[in-house]
């Protein structure tokens, strides 16, 4: 991915460090370390902090496709991992508190002893309380062409690498949960057909609306919360201790997907787009009705049966996903209701 524009001192400092692979790395890291400490003390909402979210996004990117012009060895540089953990810690705390407030009405689950059907039930119950398809209904009935394009730009941050963050969990699971995740992921990756990969279908949708489908091409255009939604998945996927959260995240993601995708597809059809553009959404209506069953019962439920102590993290992953999704939807709808763009205004050069 092309290195995006810095959004503040942390991302700026990070990009300078990454570009200068030959300099005095420990000194630079020491300085960045102190800078991050200072900046975090000034930040009251990490989820909404563009500088923190962009820095995290790029640190995670070193584990995915990498950053253009950056030495691949940075991926496991101990100093850089330390910096990532400094950002991850407050981010995880913020997600836990967002999850707690969004799950306010959920009855506390018993700490142990739930079978897989009961776990699936619990998750379907959570998904059912989801605020409703406000944004998807708007997309279906009213969104303008410009809004549909904005919608795709927000989604592109994740959808062009759709499924990748959950794949990290595969070697961390065993037995039934592992088989379930592999089954879902195989489908996400097109069942052996690259053109059916969900990321490839999404790229086709973008091209159909005249958007650039290069991975990360719109990172500069999206607000912090859009990056936070993807960083949350990387945090859950890349930390083995959070394997319950990534399972819960995938389950709730699948459980809240079929209906909205049907409505999204209708929105694009309403404006005259054909099957090449709507295939992505149509595919998700059918696929996610399968995946939600497997993810709820076999992945999340199977994991909790095997490791009952992970139930709270499964629920954390699920409720955090709902909370961040609701924030992103509120941001987008808030902008659209006042007739403005939900994307970030271009940054003046030299930040």
């Amino acid at each position: 991915m092309k290195i995006p524009d810095a959004r503040g001192p942390i991302s700026g400092g990070l990009f300078r460090l990454l570009a200068d692979g030959t300099g005095d790395v420990s000194a630079a890291q020491g300085a960045l370390h102190r800078l991050i400490e200072g900046q975090l003390a000034l930040t009251d909402d990490v989820i909404d902090d563009g500088d923190v979210q962009l820095a995290l996004f790029c640190l995670y990117e070193l584990h995915y496709g990498g950053l253009d012009g950056v030495d691949n060895r940075w991926e496991w540089n101990p100093g850089l991992i330390t910096l990532r953990q400094m950002l991850e810690e407050p981010f995880e705390l913020a997600l836990r508190s967002a999850a707690r407030s969004s799950a306010g009405s959920v009855q506390p689950a018993p700490a142990a002893g739930l079978d897989s059907d009961a776990v699936a039930d619990l998750l379907f119950g959570l998904a059912g309380q989801d605020g409703g398809p406000g944004m998807s209904r708007h997309v279906a009935k009213k969104a303008t062409l410009g809004q549909l394009r904005e919608f795709l730009v927000h989604k592109s941050i994740y959808q062009l690498k759709e499924a990748d963050p959950h794949t990290w969990a595969i070697p961390r699971l065993t037995g039934r949960a592992k088989a379930a995740l592999v089954e879902i992921q195989a489908d996400e990756y097109g069942g052996g057909r690259p053109d059916r990969m969900h990321s490839a279908l999404f790229a086709r949708t973008m091209r159909g609306l005249g958007l650039d489908d290069v991975y990360g091409g719109y990172v500069d255009a999206v607000p912090a919360v859009s990056l936070a939604a993807v960083n949350m998945m990387s945090l859950f996927g890349l930390n083995r201790r959070l394997r319950g959260a990534i399972a819960g995240h995938l389950a709730i993601y699948e459980m809240t997907s079929s209906r909205p995708n049907q409505l999204y597809g209708n929105g694009f059809r309403r404006l005259g787009f054909g099957a090449d553009v709507t295939a992505y959404f149509d595919e998700h209506v059918e696929a996610d009705a399968v995946h939600e069953q497997i993810a709820g019962r076999d992945l999340a439920g199977g994991l909790v049966e095997a490791e009952p102590g992970l139930l709270p993290d499964v629920l954390f992953g699920a409720t955090a996903a709902l909370a961040i999704d609701a924030r992103l939807a509120a941001h987008i709808m808030g902008a659209w209701e006042t007739g403005t763009s939900s994307l970030k205004p271009p940054v003046p050069a030299g930040v």
Partner: protein
């Protein structure tokens, strides 16, 4: 982290999902009454049993919106009917 693998036959397995579709995995064909193939793009499918799906024979999740409720599958001894 001990897990009993679920027993499954080589030919396929049908999962009766509570309050939801019928999941079918394995080797099989879906055909119309006259024998024509029903288009299928994935290995494991969810077949609608609530009757409300817009993409029948497949499930599209609508069962959740209509509050579809099933009795528990008749597998004696696995679970009491709710």
């Amino acid at each position: 982290m001990n897990q009993k693998p679920q027993e499954s036959s080589n030919d396929g397995a049908i999962v009766i999902c509570p309050d939801g579709p019928i999941l079918v995995r394995g080797e099989f064909e879906i055909v119309t009454p006259s024998g024509g193939a029903v288009p299928r793009t994935r290995k494991t499918v969810a077949l609608c049993r609530c009757g409300a799906s817009a993409i029948k024979p497949y499930c599209d999740g609508t069962h959740k919106l209509i509050g579809f409720r099933t009795e528990y599958p008749a597998t004696p001894g696995t679970k009491e009917a709710t």
